[in-house]
Amino acid sequence: MSPDRTAVAARRAQDAAPLFAALGDATRLQLLMRLSASGPESIAQMSEKSAVTRQAITKHLQVLSDAGFVAGERRGREHIWRLRPQRFRDVQAQLDRLSKQWDDALERLRAFVEHEGPP
């Protein structure tokens, strides 16, 4: 890989860690599934049937928003949150890239064992 392409990969990698971190929480996954099933909702609607407090929901939505999985917009006095499907495609793309990195790493392992390393 050329230095230029490596730099691009590094920038992409920096984008990836918060994606996986944002998904690594049960409450946040529940919020995503809920928004997926119900369509856009306000925090009040989301907290109606939830054991989690409004404050906690607000905090989790902020994490998801920072990671790009949801977007909020003001409608009158309420903030309505909706899913951003593109972000889930990004997650898939990151998994594909990591998958490719493992292909490369295993190829280097093979070359090392078969040709380069100590016997």
Partner: protein, 149 residues
């Protein structure tokens, strides 16, 4: 392990299992092909760190925590995937598990790498939820599910 996203890769190497094992479980040899200058051996439960030697990434410090050393058959560690932003503290983020599994095959050694736990996300559950919403997503999630053995 089937409840989390995972990446699974295999490579047949023309060398005895003991030889392949050393290339993986000896931290100096591991570093030679993984492009990292590791500063200590792998010890179960302990972190091993070093500086990346790959061009363009030399500013990045690499750390893994060894989970299992089962001689000649299984080496496992946890790490933060994509932890390359030197300004960021990744310690509170979930780690993935990487496993190297070795077995004899066709006079050589079959190496299987499994990296799992990307989002602790049961793909079949979100696939179901998302399919109700938007058809395009179901397709994407099928792709994600393809990573699950």
């Amino acid at each position: 392990m089937s409840s989390t996203n995972e990446i699974r890769k295999q490579m047949l190497i023309k060398a005895p299992q003991s030889r392949v094992w050393r290339a993986i479980a000896d931290s100096a040899q591991f570093g030679a092909w993984f492009h990292v200058r590791l500063e200590s051996p792998f010890v179960v439960g302990q972190p091993t760190s070093g500086q990346i030697t790959y061009p363009g990434w030399e500013h990045v410090r690499f750390t893994l925590r060894t989970e299992a050393i089962e001689p000649e058959t299984r080496f496992a560690y946890r790490w933060h995937p994509y932890a390359v932003d030197v300004k960021k503290d990744y310690s509170s983020e979930p780690m993935t598990l990487v496993e190297f599994l070795l077995e004899p095959q066709d006079g050589g050694t079959l190496v299987t790498v499994v990296e799992s736990g990307f989002d602790q996300l049961p793909p079949e559950r979100i696939a179901e939820a998302f399919r109700m919403n938007e058809r395009g997503w179901a397709e994407q999630l099928d792709n994600i599910r393809a990573h699950v053995a």
